[in-house]
């Protein structure tokens, strides 16, 4: 029986249809609900495929050989997809694919999900305005989505996902086209979200270590490390060629250790560490 407070993945393996390579190999992991889970790894590590499984795209919309079991709370993306889909939103890697194509303006694009969920017009107006303000798209509300820049398109894609206030948010590299300020604003905003389970694939390891409660490291479809960002980053194998946060690199150079050969991976840990060093 599934634990209603847990995300649990058991013996998950997946091979795409008409393909012989197994993309995900026997993944076993669990994490508490309402936490932020960062998924990291190099190209072709299986990050996007894992997101697709979590969102139920696999096997409901994409075929393949899926083994094992996935549960997010008491819902399974494979068995209870329609219920899960009402509580889940997904931001795709390519923001252009996220757009419905049925909206002439940014406001209509954001409202699309709400219309689909039968929300009344007054609530739609309010939520669209709120989300646009959060994603700094208020000035663009009456523009055509096709006139937006890459970073603005990504913010629009995120806005379309969060406007329904989903319980589960899956973000597949949502900041790849954003400028540094936009990226920082996005991660700051993400850290403020409560009561939502967030899976985020990103190469922004510094930002991930600031906000993620858990990190999962994928290498060639295998989950090679899982745990808090402090545990994971301190146990990275150099052969995996996964970047480390600047805070960690600096602390390692300066020998600012947290003890037990653990080096800080985010600003708060570094601050604590430096403070301890000065006290000593």
């Amino acid at each position: 029986m599934a634990n209603i407070q847990q995300i649990s993945i058991t013996h998950l393996s997946f091979t795409y249809q008409h393909d012989t390579n197994t993309v995900l190999h026997d993944i076993n992991v669990s994490a508490p609900l309402n936490s932020i889970i960062g998924i990291i790894g190099n190209h072709n590590a299986g990050k996007t495929t894992l997101c697709r499984v979590l969102a139920g795209i696999i096997p409901n919309m994409m075929g393949g050989d899926l083994l094992g079991d996935v549960h997010i709370g008491n819902l399974s993306p494979t068995k209870d997809w329609s219920v899960l889909n009402r509580q889940t939103d997904f931001v795709l890697q390519d923001p252009n694919s996220q757009l419905s194509g049925l909206a002439d303006t940014v406001a209509d694009e954001i409202a699309f999900d709400l219309l689909n969920h039968g929300v009344d017009e007054t609530t739609i107006q309010r939520r669209v305005a709120d989300v646009a303000a959060q994603m700094q798209l208020t000035a663009q509300l009456q523009q055509s989505p096709s006139s937006l820049s890459g970073g603005q398109l990504q913010r629009l894609a995120i806005a379309t996902a969060i406007v329904t206030k989903p319980g589960i948010l899956i973000l597949d590299d949502p900041t790849s086209e954003m400028d540094p300020q936009g990226r920082a604003d996005f991660f700051n905003w993400l850290a403020t979200i409560k009561d939502t389970t967030i899976f985020i694939v990103s190469n922004e390891i510094d930002d991930l270590c600031e906000i993620a409660d858990r990190l999962w490291v994928l290498v060639d479809g295998e989950l090679v490390r899982k745990g808090t960002s402090l545990e994971v980053i301190n146990q990275l194998n150099p052969e995996w060629q996964i970047g480390t946060p600047k805070v960690y690199q600096l602390a390692k150079l300066m020998y600012w250790s947290l003890g037990a050969d653990l080096f800080p991976v985010n600003i708060n840990q570094l601050r604590g560490c430096v403070h301890d060093q000065h006290s000593n």
Binding site: T88, T105, A107, N116, H117, G118, A129
Partner: protein
């Protein structure tokens, strides 16, 4: 201020063609085309070309329409040349250049055909330049078309612009890297050939992604409320009935013209 208020007062610059619904525009295109096929008098054909051209000029000329017209003009010139020289019913010479005789019957036949092509291009151009894909989709769903059919139509509408957009990106990247200067037509064609298959695969891939997104975003949800069409169309139902009746009548006339030859 209302963010998504579609009332007429809140939509900037309402044009006359915004008051005509997409189905009426399509029926007008069909009606003009059928007229040109039923009444083959050259003066009548030319007046239809002028009417459809004025319709296009009074709307919004898009670069796609202008490109289509340029391409058609090239086809028309070729057609007039070939028919003027080799049409099976050629009898009366129009003029001769270096022992090559150009005939009147062939030229007239080609001009009639060209007029029909221009009418179709102008009328469809009017529809395409004044109707967005989203406006079309919203209206079709509002008049009762199932959302799956609307989505299918929308996907088809998106394929060509998407291919064009992807091709522009690839060609721009090629030019930026100095791979192919693409100055002449031959160079442009040569640059397209090797990327054709990846281009089509990429476009289909994007279509699949869009379909996945729509499902994830609840497009097939039973609670779905229909999006209100952006404009308030004038006498849409009446126009549909009238134009449908006239078009069916013209199709009947054309069929009668064909079958009466055998009676």
């Amino acid at each position: 201020m209302e963010i998504r208020d579609n009332s007429l007062s809140n939509i900037a610059k309402i044009r006359w063609y915004n008051l005509i619904d997409p189905v009426t525009k399509l029926l007008v295109a069909l009606f003009l085309t059928m007229l040109s096929f039923v009444f083959t008098n050259l003066y009548f054909e030319v007046s239809l070309v002028l009417i459809s051209f004025v319709l296009l000029l009074l709307s919004r000329l898009s670069s796609a329409t202008i490109n289509a017209v340029y391409f058609c003009l090239f086809l028309i010139v070729t057609m007039i040349l070939i028919q003027g020289l080799f049409y099976s019913g050629n009898v009366h010479p129009l003029f001769s250049i270096m022992n090559i005789t150009f005939y009147r019957e062939g030229a007239l036949y080609a001009v009639t055909m060209s007029a029909r092509i221009l009418i179709i291009i102008f009328a469809i151009g009017f529809f395409m330049s004044t109707t967005t894909i989203s406006e079309n989709a919203k209206y079709l769903e509002a008049i009762g078309l199932p959302y799956k059919l609307v989505y299918l139509l929308m996907s088809v509408c998106y394929i060509l612009p998407q291919i064009q957009q992807n091709m522009k990106k690839i060609q721009f990247a090629e030019r930026a890297r100095g791979i192919n200067p693409q100055k002449t037509v031959a160079q442009k064609v040569r640059s397209i050939l090797p990327i054709l298959i990846p281009l089509i695969i990429k476009t289909f891939d994007q279509s699949i992604n869009r379909s996945i997104t729509l499902q994830l975003r609840g497009f097939d949800s039973p609670e779905r409320t229909l999006a209100t069409p952006k404009y308030h169309y004038v006498r849409a139902r009446f126009n549909h009935y009238l134009l449908s009746f006239l078009t069916i009548f013209l199709i009947g006339c054309k069929l009668w013209q064909i079958f009466s030859r055998f009676l």
